[in-house]
Amino acid sequence: MANLTLVQAINLALIQEMERDDRVIILGEDVGPNGGVFRVTEGLHKRFGDKRVVDSPLAESGIIGTSIGLAMGGLRPIPEIQFEGFLGPAYDQICTHAARMRTRTRGGLTVPMTLRVPVGGGIHAPELHSDSPEAIYSHNPGLKVVMPSSPYDAKGLLISAIRDPDPVIFFEPKRIYRAFREEVPEDEYTVPIGKARVVREGSEVTMISWGASVIHCMNAIEASGRDIELIDLRTINPLDYETVMTSVCKTGRAIIVHEAPLTCGIGAELSARIMESCFLQLEAPVQRVAGFDVIMPYYKLELDYLPDTERIGKAINEIVAY
């Protein structure tokens, strides 16, 4: 066991998978000698060399497009996009090709690639360094979308993603890159894609979240003194409805918390599914605590935008009082 931050856990997973499988290569902007702008690939260039840790030209579409080719050619590329806000130029390659290649060729050509992207707000960064686009990519069938909220899950999920036969977008909540440490096994292990985690059991309300928001949920739950079950989705697509529905049917109340804007967020899909599966058990309308339907503001207002302990606390009061 080692006491690691999220960054260190991801770094360790990358090292172990690269050692285990020489088809695994890393490419992206500044991932080489500089170790990535968040130092996630620190030391990898030195350890594995130019051939496997590649500083690419500054072109997101190029990074993903060539990763698709690398993957179809038998490798296991791990492209990095420096910030979620710069996925834009790569959107075309991700959604028109990575997501579609398997079904387009009826299994003839596949894209086993793991796209790593720092995500989310809260670090006082400039524009386009703080967004939460997970719903956009979950709306595109053919992609798997993962977002860990702890070092342990990050390592296990990343290893699963790298070994997965399909394209996985691995969102790394940058707000908690170094926020806390956790015991992480030094040996390799996997956390399955598509399986949520019950962080805390409870009977009164089910709270569902993912990424950096999970910590705010935990704090709000503790502050409320209520008996609330907290579920960390870990994988956003495919979503683990079984764990969610089992919990909501038990508690009869659900609160969904996410950083992304309310409209067409993952909360909307979850809420509809809960209504379909738990209609008779529901004691209150499903509640969502989300970003407002505005462009993520520059950082002076980012904390006003992001769901925080106070807003989540309000939702708890509202749903219990209903």
Binding site: E29, P57, P126, L262, I295, Y298
Partner: protein, 372 residues
């Protein structure tokens, strides 16, 4: 003759004021009148002071990430000086000197990096676009802007600034291709500083000189010493005259260097040698311009001292203004979303403090009414 040459070309490099102060009279005469040369020098020194203070603000937690401009001032300043106020400047994020010359209030740039959109609330008469954070995206806008003025029979042109790294983005190539093939008078001004964060230019471009990219699009081009403000001014002036006459685009590659880190979040020592930095310190645009002025008795130490004191005061005032502004209110994030705010957003705006999710609690059904 089965094999024949179908194309051959060469690219000129222009330099007028050498790092040691040597000045090429035949090329440089009349490019910048003495009075203006002094003003430009003072302006760069003011920008340096601004840079220094901005860096300190970041380090002391009073401002977010900031990209130092130090070393690159002559590029955007030379261009802004050579162009006319009717021409658009479509910048990246290391062009403070040009933007301030055009008239952008200095506190706007501080506000931007202080995480405040009001830093981008720019008088449209200035004809500058906000700092472009997503690399390589703004050149297309410059083409559209110049196109709009051409459409309206105006002689305004646009000038867009970008780095060596940006020339790898697809949008850059699309912008070049549009401008060249549709005859749009946009000046593509590449600030080749050798690095895109930690990635050297050799990863972005394998041609001997970056300006060859322009040749591939059939565009007029020249390389200039970007730390030589005389060369920059002459090249931009020539390009602007050509563009106004022909309505065609042009490309300038200015070789330069950022003397600081990429931004305050970067540590350039991780990827570049101290010797390289030292070498470029000797090519600093400020040192040679001061030599030029001193050789002509246009400048001396007492002027320098006086000017530095003035710059210090100006920047202190700018910081005071930027920090003294009322903090934005939460509602601000809604107010510029659309020309008129849709109803659902109005509701979120109104109830953001009273409800968990920004919905109007009075719209939520309560159990009694819901079941009847």
């Amino acid at each position: 003759m089965p094999v024949s040459k179908v194309y051959e070309t060469s690219i000129d490099r222009l330099s007028i004021l050498e790092p040691d102060g040597t000045f090429d009279e035949s090329l440089g005469k009349g490019v910048i009148p003495d009075g203006d040369a002094v003003k430009l020098y003072e302006h760069i020194m003011l920008c340096r002071k601004f840079d220094e203070i901005a860096f300190k603000l970041q380090r002391s937690g009073r401002m977010g990430t900031y990209p130092e401009n130090r070393g690159q001032e002559a590029t955007s300043l030379g261009a802004a000086y050579a162009l006319e106020s009717k021409d658009w400047l479509v910048t990246c994020y290391r062009e403070n000197a040009g933007l301030f010359w055009r008239g952008l209030p200095m506190e706007k740039i501080l506000l931007h990096w202080m995480g405040d959109e009001r830093g981008n609330q720019i008088d449209s008469e200035l004809r500058v676009t906000p700092l472009a954070i997503p690399i390589g995206t703004q050149m297309l806008h410059a083409v559209g802007l110049a196109w709009a003025y051409k459409y309206q029979d105006s002689s305004s042109v646009s000038c867009t600034f970008f780095g060596d790294g940006a020339t790898s983005e697809g949008d850059f190539h699309e912008a070049m291709n549009f401008a060249a093939n549709l005859d749009i008078p946009t000046l593509f001004f590449c600030q080749n500083n050798g690095w895109a964060i930690s990635v050297p230019t050799s990863i972005q471009c394998s041609a001997d000189v970056l300006a060859q990219r322009a040749v591939a699009y059939g565009m007029k081009t020249i390389q200039v010493d970007g730390n030589d403000i005389f060369a920059v001014v002459k090249a931009v002036r020539d390009a602007a005259a050509y563009m106004r006459e022909t309505s065609k685009p042009a490309f300038i590659e200015a070789t330069t260097y950022r003397l600081g880190d990429h931004t305050t979040a970067d540590d350039a020592r991780r990827y570049r040698d101290a010797e390289e930095v030292e070498e470029w310190q000797g090519r600093d645009p400020v040192i040679r311009l001061r030599k030029y002025l001193e050789q002509r008795d246009l400048w001396n130490q007492s002027k320098q001292d006086e000017m530095e004191a003035r710059a210090e005061k100006t920047v202190a005032e700018v910081v005071k203004n930027a920090e003294g502004i009322e903090p934005p209110v939460t509602e601000d994030m809604f107010d510029s979303m659309y020309a008129s705010i849709p109803e659902n957003l109005k509701t979120q705006r109104r109830t953001l403090r009273t409800s968990s999710l920004g919905q109007d609690p009075s719209q939520l059904p309560v159990r009694d009414t819901a079941r009847t």
